[in-house]
């Protein structure tokens, strides 16, 4: 079936192209309804990835956070009209040890191949997770981002030692906020401190036990483990600050993406015997766990709806540009495209 694909062909320029979806391939066909813009999409849209990366990847459809409705399923797993969250990670092999999102052979939507800015998306049946009507679809649009936090928290649970009295999260943006919400749901016994730069943003973390400005952290404040949700140029400062304020043998979970290598104080990492682990992306299990947590802790949806920014109905390419430009000028929050293509 001919399918309209909206590919970014150059920074700030989307163009219409078509592909042909094979209805006999065993894949299901989903019509996107709610798509959410991520920083990674913005780096392509604004052309701030290195020129050689842009040259290699474009033209490509952006967006890896989204949900839609099943319109065709030759496997009989779903009914037409079922809401499903789409999983962008697309493994081509299974490994006993290495998770699907770390296999170097796995492909990822809007990074290795076309993302969700399409009229229809063809996916393997295990690349979608059902979503019932009780969950707000606008919030569920960025479940992928949420599942990355859930993935990191599940890894934290398996890696970090058992003393978890005080946990710190660095970063007062979307990722820090989401990680904090789910940390509280998954580890309610621990005290949670948030470290950020913007008092306005920090005030949103009403469920945390305390918040601190990174320019004004008490010298004697110590934490057992930490999450870095900062990324970019500020990664270096955040990670070294964590190293200063963490107890020996604590773990540091790094989630923030940085375009360039980050110098860190390895001497103190050695002296304190710290464990630093990275987390990136997520797999099917993380999506299932995330949806389970939505149901188990309904208050989470309320907290997440606080970071829904603009909702923009998309009927044409001008609307797509409007959504991306609006997203650039926000201070916090997720821009959601109500996809009507």
């Amino acid at each position: 079936m001919l399918n309209t694909v909206y590919r970014l062909v150059a920074p700030r320029r989307f163009e219409v192209e078509f592909n042909d979806i094979d209805l006999h391939s065993g894949q299901i066909v989903v019509r996107p309804t709610h798509l959410s813009i991520c920083h990674a999409d913005q780096r392509y849209y604004q052309g701030i990835r290195p020129a050689e990366v842009l040259k290699e990847k474009l033209p490509m459809a952006l967006i890896h956070e989204g949900l839609g409705e099943v319109v065709y399923d030759p496997t009989g797993t779903f009914h037409c009209g079922d809401s499903v969250i789409m999983i962008p990670n697309t493994p081509v092999e299974h490994d006993e040890i290495i998770a699907e999102n770390y296999l170097r052979s796995s492909k990822f939507r809007a990074s290795g191949f076309d993302g969700f800015m399409q009229e229809h998306v063809a996916l393997a049946p295990d690349r979608v997770v059902p979503l019932d009507d009780s969950i707000d679809k606008v919030v569920a649009a960025f479940t992928e981002l949420v599942s990355v936090s859930v993935h990191a928290l599940r890894r934290f649970d398996s890696i970090a030692h058992a003393r978890r009295n005080v946990i710190g999260i660095w970063g007062d943006g979307n990722l820090g906020y989401i990680t904090a919400i789910f940390f509280k749901a998954m580890f309610p016994e621990s005290a949670l401190y948030i470290f950020g730069v913007d008092q306005e943003k920090l005030s949103q973390f009403s469920f945390a036990d305390d918040t601190f400005s990174v320019t004004d952290i008490p010298k004697d404040l110590l934490i057992d483990h930490a999450f870095e949700c900062v990324g970019g140029d500020a990664s270096q400062k955040a990670i070294n600050q964590i190293i200063d304020h963490i107890h020996p043998e604590g773990t540091i979970s790094i989630l923030g993406v940085s375009e360039y290598p980050v110098p860190i104080n390895t001497r103190m990492v050695l002296e304190k015997g710290l464990r630093i682990f990275g987390s990136s992306r997520s797999g099917r299990e993380d999506f299932l766990k995330t949806v389970e947590l939505y149901h188990k802790h309904p208050e989470i949806i309320g907290y997440l709806s606080n970071i829904v920014g603009a909702q923009i109905e998309i009927r044409n390419i001008a609307d797509m540009n409007l959504a991306f430009e609006t997203d650039i000028h926000k201070s916090i929050g997720k821009t959601i495209m109500i996809w009507n293509r």
């Binding site: 309209t4 192209e17 078509f18 042909d20 990847k57 033209p59 319109v71 065709y72 009209g81 293509r341």
Partner: protein, 239 residues
């Protein structure tokens, strides 16, 4: 009930030196008509899809449908078209009456078989507004200035472009109403019909506009075929 009516009745005399009607030419690696049928096939609102084509192409069309849609072919009836576009539509209504019966809300979404680039949204809005208003036409704002001439030699008028639209398809109608209006037309009135929405217009009925797409092109000339071919792009290999 909603029916998809795909009009493939034309012989394609404008296509130049090709033997097949244009809807049977391949774009990508499938015949154009199959691309078009697949777009309708994907929409679960349709009780049945009705494809109307020239008599001598019926068997070939059935074979193509079976080849490309497999078991889905049961969902598609291939019938003979009529002598004109509107007669072809009347054939589809006659089939619906016979097989399913017809009532005030029976809706037909009629579409040119040579417009394979229509989108889910266009179909969806045709059905939604068709149900609500009874008659829908798919249009895009005119980009070229439209010039009217009575004799083909000099301009008679230049209508305000901001009020001009170019008609595409689908066109969607309440089938019973369409049939009633069509049968009430004189032969003279029938002669000046270039499409079905005009039946409503000349009878003073309202036709609602649905926004089409610039790329929802009608493959009419060899040039269009090349444009269509170039629009279908898989991503660069090696990604």
């Amino acid at each position: 009930m909603v029916f998809g009516v795909i009009l493939a009745g034309g012989i394609g005399s404008r296509m130049g030196n090709v033997e097949k009607p244009k809807q049977y030419l391949k774009v990508g690696n499938k015949p154009i008509i199959i691309h078009t049928i697949e777009k309708f096939f994907m929409h679960d609102a349709f009780t049945k899809l009705i494809v109307l084509c020239p008599k001598q192409w019926i068997e070939n069309t059935r074979n193509l449908v079976k080849k490309y849609l497999g078991d889905g072919a049961e969902h598609i009836a291939v019938l003979e078209g009529g002598s004109t576009r509107n007669e072809t539509i009347m054939n589809s209504i006659a089939y619906i009456e016979k097989e399913y019966g017809i009532d005030d809300d029976t809706l037909i979404v009629t579409h040119d078989s040579v417009r394979p680039f229509l989108t889910y949204r266009i179909i969806e809005e045709n059905i939604r507004y068709g149900m609500e208003y009874g008659a829908v036409d798919t249009v895009i704002p005119a980009t070229d200035t439209i010039v009217e001439s009575q004799d083909g030699k000099v301009i008679a008028s230049v209508p305000d472009r901001t009020r001009m639209y170019q008609g595409q398809t689908p066109q969607t109608f309440k089938a019973k109403k369409l049939k009633e209006l069509y049968l009430s037309l004189s032969e003279e009135e029938k002669k000046i019909l270039t499409d079905a929405s005009k039946i409503f217009v000349i009878k003073g009925e309202q036709v609602y506009l649905v926004e089409g797409e610039v790329f929802n092109i009608k493959i009419t000339y060899p040039y269009d075929l090349r444009v269509a071919e170039s629009l279908i792009q898989d991503q660069k290999s090696g990604k």
